[in-house]
Symmetry: C2
Subunit: 324 residues, 2 copies
């Protein structure tokens, strides 16, 4: 597994970041520390810190500086997860109890608020207003993305463009600015920073499309939650929109979605899932994801051939083939 | 009314800030704009912007700079209100429907997140990392304060010190940093900034104590919600803690609080309120509030005798006597 190789090569730096992540959410408020650490220990691939460090290799790599960008980005990702769990009413994530189910919605909301704010304080330790600005603007966009997702719940008339704009805000943006902030923190020139940003943006788009595919194709074990949770809560993803374009599938699928909506998600979704799995939507969504991966790789073309570039290509390839 | 005079004198500057507040939450996302504007239009005394502007008078007063501090501070205050309403399950605030009751909890949570983030983007338009740092650290503390409030719900054994620490984080801090950020943005020296901070901190403490008193003493019309909502949700405030020290009141009051807790707040709280009203807790809390007001006024002593100083004293006096 090439991805494991990347992690192995960066191990000591990633360990340091892991330690800083823990320190950053350790407060003298027991419940808050416990809830935040619970979330942290639940793991995750730390893809944003990895990307920050790799982007930093294209400039002056200084771990003490880069970690003050890497840690906030992972924290912001975590904060969005806690708030998503409040909204989604999710009891487990990655096979672990969520903060909202282990404690309650109130704790989850303030834990999320706290982690967001903590992330911003860390980045302000670097005396570079550009970093603060990129980060806070991205959070604004991400919030708008979350609102759009709610607005578009069960909206079967939305366009593919709508979906793409939404996942741009929801997912791609944070990965893109992981590249940008790593680049800025390492003092690269603007062209390098922009190319890295484009890499991150396209990888992020592919990542979310594959995530949405996995929710339809994966097993509960692979994805850490029951499949079909998107359609159950009304989140109409790319394969669904594409399946709806198929005349033979459209009518029965619309019927199933209406039935799920009426039941408030508390019903068997397997008929809908089977319809989508049997449609051309799956293959088309896979191809769209692959095109984003291609764009990500070509964004790297003009960059110097350092080992970090190879690692970024490996990450792109991994995202493109990701099955868990 | 002296307070109205202060507003009248600052009218054109406050109007400009009001306009900027509106602009700041106007997005091309209809629902988000609507929810934020609903909140903004519900009004409020804009005490934080007023304080920023007054603090700015002790340095180089530049409205274009100061508004980029005043607007974020009011936005952060608003964001905490939206999130509080989710937690408190409040249907009205200041006599208006809350975001969570007009829309739902999900919209309220993301509207709050959005307003927080938006506040931070505005302050990053000023190229002064000290501002970002003070602001994001304050949000961290405020989140901890909110968590402490939840932790301490129905805890009748908590100390007065505990209560004071909690309202420091929950209320006083944001008013204190309104002074500090106004001072920093106007380039005052550190001593001036520290004195203004102390003024804000003490006014904020007095403000919250009076707010907690009003919840017990006011009428529904005066406070814009039914009295006793604190004790109903388990928020044990200063007058209650002081009343519990009175042997003749302690036992029946503990009994009432236990009964309210068991009923999940869905019960008549008038017996508890009567017990507290009849205790020495009211008078003692009023005296503590008055002492904070005295401290606020003496923090101003060494500052130059400009009109803003007089206005700040008037604000302190108003908070000390506030009955709505």
């Amino acid at each position: 597994m090439k991805l494991l190789d990347i992690y192995a090569r960066m191990k000591s730096d990633l360990n340091k970041i892991e330690k800083q992540l823990e320190l950053s959410v350790t407060t003298d408020h027991a419940l808050l520390s416990e809830a935040s650490l619970h979330l942290l220990k639940a793991g995750g691939k730390r893809i944003r810190p990895v990307i920050v460090l790799l982007a930093g290799k294209f400039g002056q790599y200084d771990l003490d500086v880069l970690q003050k960008v890497a840690v906030p980005l992972e924290l912001i990702h975590m904060a969005t997860l806690v708030h998503d769990d409040v909204i989604d009413d999710a009891d487990t994530r990655r096979g672990q109890l969520t903060v909202k189910s282990k404690w309650d919605n109130r704790i989850a909301m303030y834990t999320g608020d706290y982690i967001y704010a903590k992330a911003l304080t860390i980045v302000t330790e670097l005396n570079n207003p550009a970093l603060h600005q990129v980060l806070s603007k991205a959070i604004v966009e991400m919030c708008i993305g979350e609102m759009e997702q709610i607005r578009d719940f069960f909206n079967t008339e939305q366009t593919v463009r709508n979906y793409l704009l939404r996942i741009r805000r929801k997912t791609a943006l944070l990965i893109a600015i992981s590249c940008r902030l790593g680049a800025i923190a390492a003092g690269t020139d603007d062209r390098t920073s922009n190319r890295l940003y484009r890499f991150g943006y396209n990888v992020g788009m592919a990542f979310q499309i594959r995530d949405d595919l996995l929710d339809l194709l994966g097993t509960a074990k692979q994805i850490g939650k029951p499949p079909g949770s998107d359609i159950r809560q009304g989140n109409i993803t790319l394969p669904v929109l594409l399946a709806l374009r198929e005349p033979a599938i459209r009518t029965p699928l619309l019927g199933e979605i209406a039935r799920i909506r009426e039941a408030g998600g508390q019903t068997d979704c397997s008929a809908a899932i089977e319809l989508i799995r049997g449609s051309r939507g799956i293959g088309e969504a896979e191809r769209m994801s692959a095109r984003y991966i291609d764009k990500a790789v070509s964004a790297l073309e003009e960059l110097p051939d350092i080992p970090a570039k190879k690692s970024m290509k490996d990450i792109a390839a991994f995202v493109g083939e990701r099955n868990y």
